[in-house]
């Protein structure tokens, strides 16, 4: 393949991109082929989505607009292979792994500030998102700890030539409002802009029998994201972006006291998150690209809880986290067949919290290397690894090997294997928390021995479930994963993709009761005890029927099981008492798997749009029954009473463009009004209406 002047021009314009993107024969007759979907998450360099050899999908800004929701939760909920779960905020679950194992990036840098492992998706406004790249399967070989289930990378929109001002207002049920302002100007070498978002909601409180069930708290949140890109010189570019987030929350919940009485508690929270990312990009020639990134982020969450009855203080806590990262990345484009990406970084992290016994600091350093290799016209390899050095935990090597075989123009097959890992976080080590009403305690692994022996001396321990030396130092959790996928596009308007996955996770850290205090409440700590496997398959079909109509459907089959439980079942060591009071052995088929994982989930989407500016989008999202917990004493889900019912959401949006610059929209989320107490992130029926204005003018 020869470098045509056109190609050179293109490369110069876009910065050096993987030349592999041009390898695919261009089919100029096909309409969709012209619009290449360029993604960056899979390899840390730009790549055509179709060429990515690992499971990956993209949510476009059109798709986000069609959903019409202001927060990331509702956008991710509609994606195949993603389940939205609740617990200390709204979290994401991928390939059967929870929020702790999914890294969420904004423009390639991780968001911090997790509560008990959950990064609350409701913190993220979707107003100026260009696209969301979702990478499934472990990506620790590029991203290190946390990226065990995958990576969600949110790419924000930057200005195009001239000036633009986009305003939008959206009003929804539960007195929810969302305002978004997006202004940008691009002149010559300078591209600057700012996005300001205000989100407010009265919150949703569902009364279910006699228990108060909160879906989400009353919230007022401001997000401000300024950015500037400055092409200082032909070879030098400076890119600075920031994110400022400020949120106030109030909610009501009940706690059952050890005195058998339930209390209503009002919680008010105040959350701040500031990030700053300067990035210096040096492109000495077409073959080299060097990036220096200096990421700094600060997160703080303050919470005060008071009794509703008399306003007395129930609990107060402050959590602050600081994370810094200096990273140098070098991409070397040897020729159209080889690209070598390497990098190294240093990341100190500091945490201070009322609920932690001590201030915590981590220092981590890492280096990674990756080779992108077009071996033949049909066969492509992407492989590499990352070595992480951590101040508190064992060092870790995470490998990755992925291959793509383009059998024909229509069929390609992807196979990959990779190692994932997750270092225990500060809470696993340092937590020192006792619930003032319910009375239970959770101690981190470093805190537990000391606190339990203190309590023992004071005569506060009634029973020890483990001898103290069994609560040992924690090791990082780690996994091996295999993915086998395919893409089949018989005609350009029709595309089928699929992927089989298998993850084997060891040394999983679990909260385990380690003792009981004299009040009859458990004392928990963390231990590397579990081994888990998750496996399944994901299928997607996209069909652009006509200029006006398009259809999409997706389905995921998921099995997530505890390997020790499987072994015990095999050995006939797990039992239950049946309704007749007779104890019986559990069979393999009785075991529903890990809690909170639905075996079946999927979606069907229909979109209609026409030349006169009408756009209609109708989606149905299904999450099948899932086990929510154990009630019959054997610690596993094995009877129907332990299953939560399925949820079917029907979401709809209609919009109309007026005078090209204006758009009105209206719609409904959860038209069927499906609500159950096991899905606290699904509110009742939500109606919404909104107005958008997009102004563009050439700034000459």
């Amino acid at each position: 393949m020869s470098k045509t002047p056109f190609l050179l021009l293109l490369t110069a314009a876009m910065g050096p991109i993987g030349l592999r993107a041009q390898l695919a024969p261009s089919d100029s007759t096909a309409k969709t082929e012209n619009i290449k979907e360029i993604v960056v998450t899979a390899s840390r360099t730009e790549m055509d989505l179709e060429d990515v050899p690992v499971p990956m999908s993209v949510i476009t800004s059109e798709e986000i607009a069609n959903i019409g929701a202001p927060r990331l939760t509702d956008v991710l909920r509609e994606q195949t292979g993603i389940q939205i779960v609740s617990g200390h905020g709204t979290g994401v679950q991928m390939q059967g792994m929870g929020s702790d194992y999914v890294m969420i990036l904004v423009n390639g840098e991780p968001l911090i500030g997790r509560t008990a492992g959950t990064l609350d998706l409701d913190r993220i406004a979707v107003g100026n998102i260009k696209r969301i790249e979702i990478l499934k399967g472990p990506a620790s070989a590029l991203y290190g700890s946390e990226a065990m289930a995958g990576v969600i990378n949110i790419i924000t929109e930057k200005s195009s030539e001239g000036q633009h001002l986009n305003l939008s207002a959206n009003y929804r049920t539960f007195n929810t409002s969302d305002f978004n302002l997006d202004y940008g100007v691009k002149k010559k070498n300078l591209n600057t802009g700012i996005v300001i978002n205000r989100f407010a909601s009265d919150g949703i409180q569902l009364e279910q029998s006699d228990e108060v069930q909160i879906s989400f708290p009353a919230t007022t949140a401001y997000t401000m994201s300024p950015y500037a890109e400055w092409q200082m010189h032909k070879k030098w570019k400076l890119d600075v972006s920031a994110r400022l987030y400020d949120e106030q929350q109030a909610s009501l919940f009940t706690v059952a006291g050890s005195d058998d009485v339930t209390h209503n508690i009002i919680s008010s929270g105040y959350r701040k998150e500031y990030t700053l990312l300067p990035k210096l990009i040096f492109t000495p020639n077409l073959r080299n690209k060097i990036q220096l990134r200096q990421y700094a982020t600060y997160y703080q969450f303050e919470e005060e809880m008071n009794y509703e009855s008399d306003g007395a203080l129930y609990s107060t806590s402050i959590f602050t986290q600081q994370f810094f990262r200096t990273e140098l990345q070098h991409d070397y484009f040897h020729n159209s067949l080889h690209t070598l990406t390497s990098g190294m970084g240093y990341a100190p992290e500091l945490v201070e919290a009322t609920r932690y016994a001590d201030e915590g600091t981590f220092r981590a350093a890492y280096a990674f290397v990756q080779h992108s290799w077009q071996a033949t016209n049909k066969l492509y390899f992407l492989y590499g690894g990352r070595y992480d050095i951590h101040s508190a935990y064992r060092n870790r090597l995470s490998p990755k090997l992925a291959a793509q075989y383009k059998a024909t123009k229509k069929i390609s097959i992807n196979a990959s294997l990779g190692g994932g890992y997750k270092a225990p976080d500060f809470r696993h080590l340092l937590l020192d928390f006792t619930n003032p009403i319910a009375g239970y305690s959770v101690f981190g692994a470093k805190t537990a021995n000391r606190r339990i022996s203190e309590m023992q001396e004071m005569g506060l321990i009634e029973a020890l479930y483990f001898s103290p030396h069994q609560i040992q130092d924690l090791r990082p959790e780690h996994s091996m994963a295999y993915n086998l996928g395919w893409r089949y596009a018989p005609v350009t308007s029709l595309c089928f993709t699929g992927n089989f996955f298998y993850n084997n996770i060891s040394d999983l850290i679990e909260t385990t009761p380690v003792a009981r205090n004299v009040n009859g409440s458990n004392i928990f700590s963390y231990r590397n005890i579990a081994r888990v496997q998750t496996c399944g398959a994901e299928f997607n079909a996209n069909y652009t029927a006509t200029k006006n109509w398009s259809f999409a459907a997706g389905y995921e089959y998921l099995r997530a099981e505890d390997l020790d439980v499987l072994e015990q079942i095999e050995n006939g060591e797990i039992f239950r008492r049946n309704p007749q009071g007779v104890t019986e052995r559990i069979e393999r088929g009785d075991y529903f798997g890990l809690f909170n994982r639905a075996r079946h989930s999927g979606n069907v989407k229909v979109t209609y749009s026409n030349n006169s500016g009408w756009n209609v989008s109708l989606r149905s999202i299904y999450r099948g029954p899932f086990p929510f917990g154990d009630i019959n004493g054997n610690n596993i889900a094995d009877v129907q009473d332990e299953m939560a019912p399925a949820t079917v959401l029907l979401n709809m949006r209609v919009s109309k463009t007026i005078y090209k610059k204006f758009l009105v929209e209206t719609g409904v989320m959860n038209l069927l009004g499906q609500v159950n107490r096991f899905e606290p992130t699904v509110a009742g029926r939500i109606w919404f209406a909104g107005l958008k204005m997009n102004l563009n003018w050439e700034g000459k």
């Binding site: 319910a438 001898s467 009981r516 009859g520 060591e573 039992f575 052995r585 019959n632 054997n634 009473d641």
Partner: protein, 213 residues
């Protein structure tokens, strides 16, 4: 691959064993009791609502009756209950020879007491306790289902040597008065839940000092 074959073989073996066991148990009860063809299978008793509300409850598996607290320093009792603490008449808990262990099996299938593995109560470490590795219940705290409840782990058989060295097996059934169904709304509601610290269990003592039940 070898592993697979091995697993398959094991499955076949266990299937045959099961089949053989069924034939044997169907054919005659005599084989169950060793050489002594005339010994009937050990009788299974159920002790209902053994209360430790007012303090430790001492119980004799041999006479199937409660033993007065005054006799706690004798070998009249075998097992004592005090809430979720279980004590055996041996070691630091009493003058007898009692010792015990917990196995994951079915009470009805446990036709022979293990020969070894019995431990005695130690200071702060009773034999039948989670700390000693002998778990027999789970505790659901305020956030659990049902909240604040002690649920017997199903399929746990406590094998004990009685104070005078006979072998016995015990299946704990309930921690609440009247052995209620713990899956009901009435049980989940703390206002209507029956009182705790009432142990119901079934047990059998092997005859003639043997280990077969």
């Amino acid at each position: 691959m070898f592993n697979l074959i091995f697993q398959f073989t094991m499955k076949r073996i266990s299937l045959f064993t099961l089949l053989a066991a069924t034939i044997i148990s169907c054919s005659s009860d005599d084989d169950n009791n060793g050489g002594n063809a005339n010994t009937p299978p050990a009788k299974v008793y159920t002790a209902e609502d053994i209360s430790s509300v007012d303090g430790k409850a001492y119980y004799s598996l041999r006479t199937q009756s409660l033993v007065a607290a005054e006799d706690s320093a004798t070998t009249k009792w075998d097992i004592a209950f005090d809430g979720t603490n279980i004590y055996l008449n041996g070691g630091v808990s009493g003058p007898g020879d009692a010792a015990g262990q917990v196995k994951a099996t079915l009470f009805d299938e446990a036709d022979e007491a293990p020969e070894n593995g019995y431990i005695k109560d130690k200071v702060g470490l009773p034999a039948i306790s989670a700390a000693a590795g002998n778990t027999w219940y789970i505790y659901n705290d305020g956030a659990g289902t049902p909240p604040h409840s002690i649920i017997m782990t199903p399929g746990r058989v406590i094998f004990v040597k009685t104070a005078d060295g006979q072998y016995a097996k015990i299946e704990l059934l309930s921690y609440y008065k009247g052995n209620p169904d713990t899956g009901t709304q009435a049980f989940a509601n703390l206002q209507t839940r029956p009182p705790s610290r009432y142990h119901t269990f079934r047990f059998a003592v092997a005859a003639d000092g043997g280990r077969k039940f």
